[in-house]
Amino acid sequence: MQHKIDSKQHGPRGEAMTGAIESCVHCGFCLAACPTYTVLGEEMDSPRGRIYLMKNVLEGNLEQEEAQPFIDRCLGCMGCVPACPSGVAYGDLLTSYRAKVESERQRPLIDTVTRRMIIETLPYPARFRAAATAGKLGKLVQEALPDQLRTMLNMLPASLPKAIPIPPVVAAKGTKRARVAFLTGCVQTVLAPDINAATVNLLSANGVEVVIPQNQGCCGSILSHIGEEDRAMALAKNNLTAFAQIDGEVDAIITNAAGCGSGMHEYGLLFAWQPEQKMAEAFAAKVKDITVFLDELGLVGIPENQPERKVAYHDACHLAHAQGVTDPPRNLLSAIPNLTLCELNDGGLCCGSAGTYNLEQPDIAAQLGRMKAQAIADTGAETVVMGNIGCFTQVENHLAKMGATIRVMHTVQLLAQAYGV
């Protein structure tokens, strides 16, 4: 293929985009791994098609607006990345392209309203809590709301769980084996505070001291994944500072939200050409998903006496595809005595949650959610576990719609349960 992209013309990320596009050999191996191609069955909604459309836009053969619906429909699930033998850095391409386009585009009013809500509330626990509560009160007037906003409200649980405060330092139980810093996350603190509590308890039970910088906030990933680069950078900067203030060394920066983990691993790219680039890269190098960290450290002292459990594991995209983490959670779960681990059919396909996707593309998200719920039900497991809060809500909603009584848990919640902590 001949390429005529002038990468200089496209800013600091021009090189990343050109590199990814030029390494695509158009073989189509990624098609089967792409949820939107699976659901929509058309080339424009496949990774190969999207790369080709972006190429044409960047080369000036195609109007950006014309291509945009297909780019918007991309889940950013990165299913195409491990499927690609040619090593196309699709994630870098997509994030860069979206950042470029977002600064130039006009959105329909309703999209703008939804986006504003996402941008202004999701990253801030206090605001999100307030909005969520108001949203519930507003259920009466929901009929009058546009579809997208209604979907967003429907995602919220009937009542919000009580916040669980976590102290700035949690000591290691028994011999101290490691010291880590912990990113508490934003949406998660509101929707499922229990996950953070389980994480901290699990670490502590395994001899890990946990430091929780108190002035940390949202990591910005949710915004950088939708192309809101400047806001993402501001949030990220805040966390770089907050974590830099920790006294002494930590072995890792732990996250239990796959979306945050994958976003923070991209900090180097987010701060390309910025004065903070080095600092951001050093931070990114320390970020570890909780399952990766525990698998490397090795679990100690799981109580032997465990009930029989049949558990399905769902690969969150931002963990499995974006970070290549598939074995560690499975290893940890398999370490629990009497636990049978079940694999899902087409397990690599996204559940349709993908950050803000179920807010922005409710139809496709719903279809993928149904497919995932079915695959989970087919295993006959009584519990399904996963490593990302985003999938959590989506999977729970669709299992409930099916009438399936399968419990949805975070990997760390099940582990904490097994430890009795």
Binding site: V25, F29, E66
Partner: protein, 485 residues
């Protein structure tokens, strides 16, 4: 609009809404298959969802005299599913149902857009699988496999696609529906082998609508052996040695240094280090037989100068070995911005010689060539690497590709093992076939496709004196039928 408004309306009636595509942005992603050196924009892409819709579209095209091309997943490497200028692309990927499985008879009835690997996944529960395994099997469709008589690593033992198709329902280019073969595994019926005629016809004889495939029992055991060599020629000669010993492995593949480097980068398989060439031999069958053959194989390989021999440790390791091998073409994209995959065949005994000649030609042109191939079948896949951004390199690469094909033919081989002729090798056909042969083929085509609307311009050279070289303007480019990027 290239055609009268009524033509598009008729398509819309069959495939309403977003299932008939005519906008620039929708057509762009369909303008090439996996051979990206060529592209053509069609007049429309239609996305039928039933057999009836496919038939209706063909009838509309026939009535209007508009050419069409069937498309599965668009992984053809020879321009087979590239659109025809102002023609219609009939995308069959939504006809993706497995209609029936008969575990007793060991058959399955499938729609044409079913992905090759999905058949094996679906029948695994019965201990069965679909044997032909093109490297693209995770995405290529049965319809595409039929059109190209696709093969794969394991076709050495079990034969190509044509050996596994029992019955076909086809819509001919004029809209007539015909059925060939029989759904039972025995009675192939009397009379000419029409399945044999259709399989490999590259979409020139119409569109396969419903396919009955043969299934095989999953072998009890696999044993995958890797032998590393310090020259490519030694690896090539080892293939003959294995065959001469009377062994019939399930697969016998070779990858050279470049291909190994690319595949290793893609899947981190841990192939033996420092090899100039790697021979992969897979034995399969009943446990005892595999063990017996394994002892014999190790014996043979010892005499071929391999400096390291390894055996796949477990199923996961075996999976990785094959993943690396099957993704090898695409992973070469990591080494070079562009490449041409060739698909020549030589008699097995000439493998060593052919490889030496390819190496010499590669040096002469100063262009890197990575080799990965179905060695057991003598089916070579040299990947000629070039940089399309450098003026003239594509032409050089095509010239080198042409030389390699000529070498294959000189050594008693042929033009394509499995990727088809398509547009890419159409003009080499006269190197292999005489005028009478080509006339007979053309005659058959004209009988079946009186208006010449089913994938015209592919496979068969046109009447006028065909150009024998690939460099410079392709004859189809001159005629304005395709354009090149």
């Amino acid at each position: 609009m290239t055609h009268p408004e009524t033509f598009y309306q008729q398509l819309q009636e069959i495939c309403p809404g977003r299932r008939t595509l005519t906008r620039h942005v929708d057509l762009l992603p369909y303008e090439s298959d996996a051979l990206v050196a060529f592209s053509t924009k069609p007049a429309a892409v239609v996305l039928p969802e039933t057999e009836e819709e496919v038939v209706a579209i063909v009838k509309v095209c026939h009535a209007a005299g508009v050419p069409f091309v069937a498309r599965g997943s668009g992984t053809s490497l020879s321009g087979g599913s590239m659109p025809i200028k102002d023609g219609v692309v009939i995308a069959l990927n939504r006809l993706n149902k497995i209609l029936a499985v008969d575990p007793q008879q060991r058959t399955a009835i499938v729609q044409p857009g079913v992905i090759n690997l999905k058949i094996s996944t679906a029948v695994k529960q019965y201990g069965l699988y679909y044997a032909p395994d093109p490297s693209s099997q995770s995405i290529c469709t049965i319809g595409g496999n039929i059109a190209f008589n696709s093969g794969g690593a394991h076709c050495l033992k079990y034969g190509m696609t044509s050996n596994h198709i029992l019955a076909l329902k086809v819509v001919l280019p004029d809209g007539e529906i015909v059925e060939f073969g029989s759904e039972s595994t025995e009675g192939m019926g009397v009379g000419p082998d029409l399945i044999g005629l259709f399989v490999g016809s590259e979409g020139l004889f119409g569109i396969a609508l419903k396919i009955t495939v043969r299934l095989l029992p999953i072998p009890e055991q696999y044993k995958t052996v890797l032998a590393a060599y310090d020259t490519l020629e030694k690896a090539g000669d080892a293939v003959s040695a294995v065959v001469a010993s009377g062994l019939l492995p399930g697969a016998m593949e070779i990858m050279d240094k470049m291909a190994l480097k690319a595949a290793e980068a893609a899947v981190k398989t841990g192939y033996p280090a420092g090899a100039e060439a790697l021979l992969i031999v897979e034995l399969e069958g009943e446990k005892e037989q595999v063990e017996r053959e394994f002892a014999e194989l190790v014996n043979v390989i010892e005499g071929t100068g391999a400096y390291a021999v390894e055996v796949a440790r477990d199923e996961a390791h075996r999976g990785k070995i094959w993943k690396g091998r099957k993704g090898a073409f695409s992973s070469v994209g990591r080494l070079s911005p562009d490449y041409i995959v060739q698909d020549g065949v030589v008699p097995r005994s000439q493998l060593g010689k052919a490889l030496a000649e390819i190496e010499a030609a590669s040096k002469r042109y100063g262009l890197g060539v990575a080799n990965v191939f179905h060695a057991g079948d003598g089916n070579l896949h040299p990947l000629i690497m070039y940089d399309g951004r450098i003026e003239g390199q594509l032409e050089q690469a095509e010239k080198l590709a042409g030389e390699i094909l000529a070498t294959c033919i000189k050594l008693g081989g042929t033009l394509t093992g499995e990727h088809g002729i398509g547009v890419e090798k159409r003009d080499y056909m006269p190197l292999l076939f005489g005028e009478t042969d080509l006339d007979v083929m053309d005659n058959i085509r004209n009988q079946i496709d009186t208006k010449g609307i089913a994938n015209p311009g592919k496979k068969l050279p046109t009447g006028e004196a065909p150009a024998l070289k690939m460099h410079g303007m392709h004859p189809l480019e001159k005629a304005g039928i395709i354009s090149r990027e």
